[in-house]
Symmetry: C2
Amino acid sequence: MSASSCLTIKFPERDQERIIPALKVLGEPNRLRILCGLGLECRPVTDIINATGLGQTNVSFHLRVLREAGFVRAERRGPFIYYCLADSELLRILHDLTSWLDARQTAVTSDAEQRARPAKRNSAAPRTREVT
Amino acid sequence: MSASSCLTIKFPERDQERIIPALKVLGEPNRLRILCGLGLECRPVTDIINATGLGQTNVSFHLRVLREAGFVRAERRGPFIYYCLADSELLRILHDLTSWLDARQTAVTSDAEQRARPAKRNSAAPRTREVT
DNA sequence: CTATAATATAAGTGAGGATTTATATGAGTG
DNA sequence: CACTCATATAAATCCTCACTTATATTATAG
């Protein structure tokens, strides 16, 4: 199934428009650090502030964005508010992406080695082939 | 394996720092539209320009970012340059994310319906529980 | 009740990056 | 070769949003 869905993947505009806001949320470095830093734990805001070194209001702002995106949820416990992932599936997907980046990096490295080899280059045909 | 890795997922800073630039690339709406619009096909730049309605130079700029990120590759064919995904795995991951968003939307919708119900609200206890 | 701590929200600012305008580069044709 | 088309690159401009400062809100302790 996974293989067949991979082969037939299309990305209709409907799906694009759905994923765009999510990736905008995830595309901000500090926001992503906050999100990934949570891992599978519930953490008070003070923890997040200390862990990231960001300002309190900045953290609060980012948490709000994450919360409104539905990526994290918040629970008040006395004077503290604890934040955790709304669904660990998101972390799994991000982990997939990391793994893919790693694997690709490995592939690219070995690919680059092959490229480094053609010192005896046919100057016309393969050069115009691949734009880098 | 997938289940166990889900339960034990941690996101060390090393991984965070790896994924951040990738998500920055993917976090720009038009860039994502370009990427997803490619699907599994190789397309000339003119196609992309027409499909997205963006300016030529803007498209060119975004393609360069995608190319340098390693997400797409380019092949010159005569006067045209065709762009396609470097690896369909990325599309699969994005598709996973979309599916997750959809599934969560369904869950959120039914959750929101339950929330819409407490018109007879106990004003203290459940309100201070969950921060929205 | 007052004071303090934790956190959120509002408003202002400036930097990063998307987009535009101008121009350069590469490929093809006559 | 000159010209045209496709695309990339450089520089300038614009726009979005992250971050900061100021303040408000909520919870707790004495």
